[in-house]
């Protein structure tokens, strides 16, 4: 690890001031950044600890839930407001990592965490356009079970690893960001970028900007999150689904679907939602919705199974939400 300085920001203004310095990076729980520094993939010269910033979890006037960027993942999942109003968010957070990691990890850090692609993580032995632009991508011809089936590019098929962000994408969360010239809100579905020919650019956050909070609008119906993985716990998703469903007179009045584990960003399934809105939730309707959603998919031999797995997981979750899974 390179030598690095450390100090704590007491306010967003202080964090903004220090993060403008070259080589400086914000530090949340450190569960991703410290690991990547030790692996030589991240090389900051200064760390600004932002865990003293707002960790508030509260209802805003419009009924949306406001969560400060410094709130720990475990605190958000355990909060009564989150458990009762947005259970899929609590469940998604609880599906991620281990209790120890969730106690450390912040909401800001979770949004900004980098891919677990083995070739990205292997500084010494693998080519990776995200880590070293222009060097190539070893995932294409390599072990790509954990890689994207949709939204990737010839330059990169790395998956965004967050469980929490899948729930946030499904429920139209907004990321509140502070910068030198004021604050702005970015829709979570736009926050993470697709790789295109610049897989090294991962989010819309500009250098020097600080995430202040996440806002999650209320959703009227029941919601849930389900994760499928290679072992029962403490593993990243092969496929995960966050969904919310409102049925009126036997037809879908409102529906939200987002997938994790299959794309370079939390994948909001807008096409599938459009296909299901107004329909009865039947297997045929779900199959048609999945076909529409994955029309542009680009599966590889190692990960093509994920499209079927995503469809089956969605069916199971919608059955659970419509109370017909017994």
């Amino acid at each position: 690890m390179n030598p690095v300085t450390y100090h704590r920001a007491a306010s967003v203004a202080q964090a903004l001031e220090s993060s403008a310095a070259p080589g400086h990076r914000l530090l949340g729980g450190g569960t991703n950044l410290v690991d990547l520094m030790r692996k030589g993939i991240e090389r900051p010269t200064g760390l600004i600890d932002v865990t003293q910033l707002s960790e508030t979890i509260a209802l805003a006037e419009d009924g949306s839930l406001l969560v400060g960027a410094a709130a720990r993942n475990s605190a958000v999942a355990a909060h009564p407001l989150v458990r009762s109003r947005t259970p899929m968010l609590a469940r998604a957070i609880l599906a991620g990592a281990s209790a120890q990691v969730r106690n450390m990890a912040t909401i800001g850090g979770n949004l900004m965490q980098r891919t677990r692609c083995l070739y990205f993580q292997d500084e010494a032995g693998s080519r990776c356009n995200k880590r070293d632009p222009g060097s190539g991508c070893d995932a294409y011809g390599g072990f790509n079970r954990y890689h994207a089936v949709i939204g990737g590019s010839p330059a990169c098929i790395a998956v965004h690893p967050s469980d929490m962000c899948v729930a946030l994408a499904a429920f139209d969360a907004r990321v509140r960001v502070a910068g030198a010239s004021g604050t702005r809100a970015i829709a979570l579905v736009d926050f993470h970028r697709l790789p295109g020919d610049r897989p090294d650019l991962e989010t819309l956050l500009e250098p020097g900007e600080v995430i202040e909070a996440v806002e999650i609008p209320a959703f009227a119906g029941p919601s849930a999150y389900r994760k499928v993985r290679d072992r029962a716990s403490y593993a990243f998703a092969l496929v995960s689904v966050a969904a919310g469903l409102v049925i009126e007179e036997g037809r879908v009045a409102d529906i939200r679907i987002a997938f994790g584990g299959i794309a370079p960003k939390p994948w909001r399934a807008f096409r599938a939602e459009a296909a299901l809105r107004g329909a009865a939730v039947t297997q045929a309707a779900i199959d048609a919705a999945m076909a529409a959603e994955f029309a542009d998919a680009a599966p590889l031999p190692g990960n093509a199974f994920k499209i079927d797995l995503a469809g089956r997981t969605l069916s199971a979750l919608l059955a659970e939400l419509s109370g017909s899974d017994r």
Binding site: G29, G30, V34, R38, S74, A78, A232
Partner: protein
């Protein structure tokens, strides 16, 4: 400021790269806390910071400045073992013992989490308090791997302590 480690004040290291794990083991010779993967995957390095279980390998010592750290040495001793330590012995909750300090620190915090009503991924009703069942304990302890495969004994030991606490 200083880090309070098992009740003793220790100055945070000058070099910000030093992890809490290295501070404990290399500088303070508190070698009960173990180094496994050094990348967050195994839980061998689990300690309590302000009562919450965390991974000392991914915590910079500087991040613990002003906080209170408890390691396995602070939980119990050979003369006055923590109930979990006694239960691990009684239920064969280990073989080589390498993962054990991390398991016990994690379990101590985990039982408090259940008592405080914190849910887990397998808690069916997120709005109701969870109970310390075998399934709950397995899920909640999944951040602590055991290469010897002593998991059944580990879960038995933790269940026993949970029962004792409930009685």
């Amino acid at each position: 400021m200083a880090i309070r480690i098992n009740g003793q004040e220790v100055a945070a290291p000058q070099d910000a790269r030093v992890s809490l794990l290295d501070l404990l083991r290399e500088q303070l010779h508190l070698t009960g806390t173990k180094v496994g993967c050094n990348q967050g995957a195994c839980g061998a390095c689990t300690v309590l910071v302000d009562g919450a279980r965390v991974l000392s390998c991914l915590t910079l010592a500087a991040q613990a400045d002003g906080r209170s750290v408890t390691t396995i040495e602070g939980l119990g001793s050979a003369e006055a073992p923590h109930p979990l330590q006694s239960a691990f012995i009684a239920h064969d909750g280990f073989q080589c013992g390498y993962c054990t300090p991390g398991q016990i620190c994690a379990a101590a915090a985990m039982l408090r989490e259940i008592a405080a009503g914190v849910p887990s991924y397998v808690t069916a009703d997120l709005t109701a308090p969870a109970l310390p069942t075998r399934d709950e304990i397995r899920e909640r302890m999944s951040g602590n791997l055991c290469r010897c495969g002593a998991h059944n004994g580990i879960v038995d030991a933790i269940l026993r302590v949970a029962e004792e606490q409930a009685a």
